[in-house]
């Protein structure tokens, strides 16, 4: 046997493996410091953590750790359905919303198919296309916004899925209601449009995509408990689509994909409006302040509607490393073809201040 790649699917050969935000523990180890000194603003997590109600629910659920979880997430789906104004058969749970992206691949993608997404869009879409041997058509977005007209123009007879992260990660930009409405009208019926709305709850005036689901279109909306709900570690997200489409996705799901603690935490967190409001408040405040600081430092940034901001620092990898030495983890974006930029998640005001102070130092020290 010469090389393992002779056996593997050829499309996997050039696939870039997903690089998560650098973990706090790893950074602490490398810097020889205590994890408590490290500030991680690299993965768009909620710096306030989960709702205290969610933590109480986890504590209570620990005593059923030994029992297989409720496979379909009956009670959580009921609560979500009531909140969203759809019926339970419009919902599917995933071990993180990234698992639902995988279900979509299982359901619709084969070798030779096309997937359309934006240049600089969340890298998961490209990865899932590659897993199933499909081609990804990346539509250029010169101003770092989705070009929905160009996405329509890119549709081929082989196009199965279109992924639109809205707001987009890592750019933080939003496609508005009118733009989306016009887009949906022109998408052929045999193409499934996926709106990935991981940052939906941070929006002041979110576009309504559930209306397309209610109209019976081939639209899937993805949401997560990893962001505003602060449950990234627990792994739980969900998809909303018309019942027939959900039934298709269910076939690709393993029976106990979402753990019992995550289900309990999500259900309790859903009821905590106050925690969400406070998270949004500190995010709005922190983001506005960060953007002011970038403007004052003459740095180009992309005005964001999510819990992170993309800022142009000239050499993203270099600034990432320099900040790391000052115990601050941000995200370099070479993998997104944004080598000049870094993405900074909004933290608590204290974390934001330390980050900006370090950034000023680092940029000031940079040889001209």
């Amino acid at each position: 046997m010469s090389s393992i790649w002779d056996l593997a699917n050829p499309q996997l050969r050039d696939l870039r493996v997903y690089e998560p935000g650098k973990p706090i523990e790893e950074t602490a180890r490398e810097l020889g410091t205590d994890a408590g000194h490290i500030i991680k603003l690299a993965s768009n997590e909620n710096p306030l953590g989960p709702s205290p109600k969610a933590l109480a629910a986890i504590r209570a659920a620990l005593e059923s750790s030994h029992l297989y979880p409720d496979g379909g997430g009956y009670y959580l789906c009921d609560a979500l359905a009531a909140q969203l104004g759809v019926s339970r058969d419009h919902l599917i749970l995933g071990s993180g919303s990234n698992e639902i992206i995988e279900f979509l691949g299982h359901a619709f993608l084969d070798r030779g198919d096309d997937v359309i997404t934006s240049e600089h869009a969340f890298i998961a879409y490209k990865l899932v296309a590659a897993i199933f041997g499909a081609r990804t058509i990346e539509v250029p977005s010169p101003d770092l916004r989705h070009d929905l007209d160009a996405m329509i123009a890119a549709i081929t007879p082989k196009t199965r899925l279109i992924f639109i992260a809205n707001p987009n990660n890592p750019t933080g930009t939003l496609a508005g209601q009118e733009e989306i409405d016009r887009f949906i009208e022109r998408v052929p019926e045999n193409v499934v449009v996926v709106f990935d709305e991981a940052y939906f709850e941070y929006l002041d005036d979110p576009p309504d995509t559930l209306r397309f689901v209610r109209e019976g279109r081939n639209v899937a909306v993805l949401r997560t408990f990893s962001k505003i709900q602060g449950l990234a570690g627990l792994r739980i997200g969900y998809g909303i689509a018309r019942p027939e489409l959900i039934r298709v996705l269910q076939k690709a799901r393993q029976p106990f994909n979402v753990n019992g603690l995550a289900q309990a935490a999500a259900l309790a967190g859903l009821a905590d409006v106050e925690h969400r409001r406070e998270t949004k408040r500190i995010t709005d405040e922190g983001r506005a302040w960060l953007q002011e600081q970038f403007a004052a430092m003459d740095l180009r940034y992309v005005p964001s509607v999510a819990n992170f901001v993309l800022v142009n620092v000239g050499d993203g990898a270099e600034i990432f490393r320099a900040l790391l030495h000052r115990q601050i983890i941000v995200r370099a974006l070479k993998g997104y073809n944004l080598a000049e930029w870094i993405r900074i998640s909004v933290g608590t005001m204290e974390q934001n201040r330390r980050c900006i102070a370090a950034l000023r130092e680092v940029l000031g020290n940079r040889p001209g």
Partner: protein
């Protein structure tokens, strides 16, 4: 751009496909949907005796429970560092390197990844390294469903007279692809003898992958049983799945893993989304491994309750398949389905029907009090 003005109807015509539905991959429409039935709460005042899912009634180690409450502060963080720490611990435990371990959202995810990576439809464009799935009958059937999702042919080979895997027939049925061996086997609690399994692994051509599911490994104490993890170093086509759902008492937390050669793990890795195991499961699994009492107690308590219930069933004339697991399968001498139903009405849940053995019941070994509750209801039903 001209295309902008094209209406949806025109577009459909342009594509030559007026289909109103998206093209679902044909294999998927044949696949089985996992049940989404809720956990039915018992009638007021009643307690359900759950002996249906081969769970460990004692749960995880107290150290594991503590490590989870200690992790509340990192619940909002993606769990990459904790995954790495568990991989290291498992590598050390199994005497392999970290790149020979792949974690899964339960060992179910490992089974799914094996099906996705190594099985597929036998068409002219069949990707290299894929083929059919061969499994025993009866066995743990989850992997059959995953293979069907990939459009693979599935072959079921009946267990032999001693309820071991019929390895000769399974080998003959394999067309590259994947042979799945559950050892000890669910639902029969029986083992496939170590010499037979070793021979089979030696003889099987490298193009055929062999997945040995050792979910119940810790409960097996027969001199005729062994783990095949030590054979991995000589066999790039051998994979072993392990789980934290059984003796480690973590079925609700979802954590399992795969051991194989580095190159074999590398073939599977691109098919997995990241962060599939949650932080609570990761820290609990690691603490569980560090608590020697978890295994010793789990084995002892299981063996005591199992001896008790076996003794009672012997008195009633119900022969069991010799059990090397935390469940037993015994001959009911009548169809099992009505008995399952009658027990359920008495708030006792037992294993489902396994069509290959319609007169056998699979019973999980719970605490002694649960076994007594089962026996009381069972005597009523059988009377």
């Amino acid at each position: 751009m001209n295309t902008i003005s094209i209406s949806r109807r025109q577009f459909a015509r342009l594509l030559g496909a007026g289909a109103a539905v998206a093209a679902v991959r044909p294999a998927l429409s044949l696949a089985v949907t996992p049940p989404t039935t809720p956990v039915t709460p018992p009638a007021a005042g009643a307690t359900v005796v759950r002996l249906s899912s081969n769970e460990n009634p004692y749960g995880p180690s107290t150290k594991a429970l503590k490590s989870m409450t200690d992790a509340f502060g990192i619940a909002c963080r993606y769990p990459d560092a904790q995954a790495e720490a568990l991989v290291e611990a498992l590598a050390k435990l199994n005497g392999v390197s970290g790149d020979q371990i792949l974690l899964g959202d339960g060992s179910s995810e490992i089974l799914k990844l094996c099906a996705v990576t190594f099985t597929g439809a036998m068409t002219n464009e069949k990707p290299a390294g894929r083929g059919n799935l061969v499994a025993a009958d009866p066995t743990f059937e989850a992997i059959l469903a995953y293979a069907k999702v990939r459009g693979a042919e599935t072959v079921k080979v009946p267990l032999n007279a001693s309820f071991g895997h019929d390895l000769a027939k399974m080998g003959a049925a394999a067309k590259e692809g994947l042979v799945y061996i559950c050892n000890p086997n669910n639902p029969t609690a029986s083992i496939t003898p170590k010499n037979e399994l070793r021979d089979f692994i030696e003889k099987t051509p490298r193009e055929t992958m062999i997945l040995v599911d050792e979910a119940y490994f810790h409960y097996a104490d027969s001199a005729d049983y062994e783990s095949v993890i030590p054979l991995i170093k000589d066999h790039p086509n051998l994979l072993v799945a392990r789980t934290f759902s059984k003796i480690f008492g973590m079925a609700g937390l979802r954590c399992g893993y795969c051991v194989a050669q580095k190159e074999t793990i590398e073939r599977m890795r691109p098919h997995q989304m990241w962060d599939s195991v949650n932080v609570m499961a990761l820290v609990a699994a690691k603490s569980n491994l560090e608590d020697p009492d978890q295994l010793a107690n789990g084995r002892r308590w299981n063996s005591e309750a199992r001896s008790f219930v076996i003794g009672e069933l012997d008195k009633m004339g119900h022969k069991q398949i010799p059990s090397q697991a935390n469940f037993i399968m015994f001959d009911l001498k009548r169809p099992v389905v009505p008995v399952i139903k009658a027990l359920k009405e008495r708030n006792v849940q037992v294993g489902r029907l396994f069509p290959a053995l319609p007169n056998h019941m699979r019973l999980t070994i719970g605490k002694k009090a649960e076994m007594e509750a089962f026996l009381a209801a069972f005597r009523q039903v059988m009377a």
